[in-house]
Structure formats: structure tokens, C-alpha cells
């Protein structure tokens, strides 16, 4: 992990095993499958539900500053706490939580490399016990909006040479063959992608065991498709969770200076009246594939 631009942003399963009862460390599991935590989890870990605790449950938005302060205080997190996030699906929603924590200025938050999958596959100790943390007082910073892109910014970026957009959904979602990932009910009115976006499915950043690929492999993956650090990068997917995974890779593992997550993503763009949509594989990408 030492080759990454910010190696301290990742911890190994072994590190977590050694620090799971460290009083300065709070471990939190955030899963796509919100019932997975109840099956068993890292001893001492708390569980956050992305559908109810990491978003605004009334309007579509990220968690508010007030709600985040309440959640963190109830979780026993102080401003100087080391927070370790992990989850299923190679840390999809752990990355989503980290993205929001960084927007609200939490300094020391890291991801357990390999996530829940690696912990279980290694046969490490798990528990069904739910820890009752001692309440703390948490004060969040004002939201750093530079880590996020909104619809109007994405629309402007589409025409700008100094921007590059990366669509991290599957090839079938990108080309418009399907309107939602197989087996998931949510859909959109139009399939396809934002014109000019490169398609680099998020999972290509991971090894089979759920850990992140090496810096060298990641650089080859993103640079090979024009996602380079000299550009302002906008990552998007369907609802912004897969793209927060890619946002994490580009910002912290590769050290790109300007990366934002368009969390409106395809469920916004693909439902928007009059939004330009491109279908299939762009001609430039076809040429790359042929060569």
C-alpha cells in the first residue's frame, strides 16, 4: 500500500484486527446490503445504514451537517477520532461514507482494504454484538462543495477541454443496453451516458480479493482512457456510490488534484428532459479497443 499517493488512507484487515478495541479508533461498517451487518461484523464495529443515516431522507441530498453531527456524536466519534470504514461490495458504500466525511472535514478517516469480503474470507473473528458507544460531541465543518459536482457544472464540463468525465457503471449501463444493473429495480427514462464520458467500470480498480489494485495498474487503467491528473475529473455512476469509490481511487490512491463526485449521476441525467445522451461505445473508444 506504500506506493499510493496517500497510503495512510488505507488500512489492512490485519491492522484492523490489531486495533479493533483501540479507544481512539471507531470502526464502522457501511453495506449496500443493509442487513449484512446483522449477520456478523468486525468486533466493536458500528453499522450505519446508507439508506436512512447517510443521506437526507426527505429530499434527495447528502446528509445535512446537523444530522451528521448527531450521527457522529451518537457513534462516539470526536473530531480527532480515527474512523475506519469498511463494507460489502469492495467498499462501495464505505467510500460513499468517506466522501461525505471528507466533505464535512473529518481529518482521519480511512478504508479497510478489501472490506467485508476480505475479512470474512480470511476467517477473522466476527460478532453479532452491537457496541453501545459513549456519546461524544462532534462539530462538523461547512461542507466542502469542491468534492461534489452538480448538474449545471457537469453540463458546462461536457464542453470544456480541461475536464474529463468518467462513467464508472457497467458497459451495458454505459451503452444503454440496460436501464439499471441486473436484478435492481430502480430505473431511468433513458439509457446511455453523458456525451464525452469515458467508461471505466469501478470494479476494474479492484483485485479479486476486494483490495485495490497497485498504483501502477491504476495509473495504466485511468491514463489509458484519458483520465489524467492534468484535467479536472468528474466521476459519476447511477446514484453516486460507485463513483465515490472511483473518486477515492483517483484522489487518494493516485493523488489527482481535482476530482469530484457527481452524485446526481445517471438517475438525474437519464431522467432529465432535453439532456444530451450518447449511446453505444464512442468512436474514440472503439479505435482504442481496436488498437
Amino acid at each position: 500500500m506504500s506506493d499510493y499517493a496517500r497510503p495512510e488512507m488505507l488500512v489492512s484487515t490485519e491492522w484492523v484486527d490489531q486495533h479493533k478495541f483501540d479507544p481512539h479508533v471507531v470502526i464502522v461498517e457501511v453495506d449496500v446490503d443493509t442487513q449484512a451487518y446483522e449477520e456478523g461484523h468486525v468486533p466493536g464495529a458500528l453499522g450505519w445504514n446508507w439508506q436512512t443515516q447517510l443521506c437526507d431522507t426527505l429530499r434527495r441530498d447528502v446528509i445535512s451537517k446537523t444530522d451528521l453531527e448527531k450521527l457522529f456524536s451518537e457513534s462516539g466519534i470526536s473530531n480527532d477520532t480515527t474512523v475506519i470504514l469498511y463494507g460489502d461490495n469492495n467498499n462501495w458504500f464505505a467510500a460513499w461514507a468517506l466522501w461525505q466525511m471528507k466533505m464535512y472535514g473529518h481529518e482521519d478517516v480511512r478504508i479497510m482494504n478489501g472490506g467485508r469480503k476480505k475479512w470474512l474470507a480470511e476467517g477473522r473473528v466476527i460478532t453479532k454484538d452491537v457496541r453501545q458507544p459513549e456519546r461524544s460531541t462532534y462539530k462538523a465543518s461547512e461542507r466542502d462543495e469542491s468534492l461534489r459536482s452538480y448538474l449545471n457544472q457537469v453540463h458546462s464540463a461536457m464542453m470544456a477541454n480541461d475536464y474529463a468525465m468518467v462513467d464508472v457503471r457497467s458497459v451495458d449501463e454505459f451503452t444503454g443496453k440496460i436501464l439499471s444493473p441486473p436484478g435492481l429495480p430502480e430505473t431511468c427514462q433513458r439509457g446511455g451516458h453523458i456525451p464525452g464520458a469515458a467508461n471505466i467500470p469501478w470494479v476494474q480498480a479492484c483485485n479479486d480479493d476486494g483490495t485495490f489494485k497497485s498504483r501502477e495498474d491504476l495509473e495504466a487503467l485511468y491514463m489509458g482512457k484519458g483520465i489524467s491528473p492534468d484535467k479536472k475529473i468528474i466521476a459519476y455512476c447511477r446514484i453516486g456510490e460507485r463513483s465515490s469509490h472511483t473518486w477515492f481511487v483517483l484522489k487518494y490512491l493516485l493523488g489527482y488534484p481535482t476530482v469530484s463526485n457527481y452524485d446526481g449521476s445517471w438517475t438525474e441525467w437519464g431522467n432529465l428532459v432535453g439532456a444530451p445522451v450518447e449511446k453505444g461505445i464512442p468512436a474514440t473508444a472503439k479505435k482504442e479497443m481496436a488498437s
Binding site: V32, E39, D88, N89, A121, G123, S170, K177, P181, G183
Partner: protein
């Protein structure tokens, strides 16, 4: 308590590539079925044997995959 008998296998369900993960925690077996691309959970189930957990999860997964929206 540890996870035991962790196993992953790949197969195809109604034309969609899926990854099936099974493991045992305590006396219960769990089965999770993910679509390979993008990797999201399609179905999960538990049971007293690995076979019953898999069977229940597969049944749910088949129904959900059939409903995948495609553009007309």
C-alpha cells in the same frame, strides 16, 4: 465466532453473470448472490444447510433478474 466454509463461485442466471458467495456463521449458512457487473447484491438468504440457503437465494435472484429493465 468466525466465518467458516467461505466459498465463491461464478455462474450465469437468465443470461446474467452472477457471483454466489456462501459461508457459515455459528449454526447458520448464508448465501449472497451478486451480479458480476457491476457487483451489486441481487439476493441473499440463510438456512440451516448451505443447499437451502443457496436454493432460497437463487429463487429470489431469478425473479429479480427477470425484471431488469431494458430499453425498448
Amino acid at each position: 465466532m468466525n466465518t467458516e466454509q467461505y466459498n465463491e463461485e461464478f455462474s450465469e442466471l437468465n443470461g446474467v453473470k452472477v457471483r454466489t458467495v456462501t459461508y457459515k456463521i455459528g449454526n447458520e449458512f448464508y448465501c449472497h448472490i451478486y451480479n458480476v457487473d457491476p457487483g451489486a447484491t441481487v439476493a441473499r438468504a440463510s438456512g440451516s444447510t448451505v443447499e437451502t440457503a443457496k436454493e432460497k437465494a437463487l429463487e429470489k435472484a431469478k425473479g429479480r433478474i427477470k425484471q431488469t429493465a431494458k430499453e425498448n
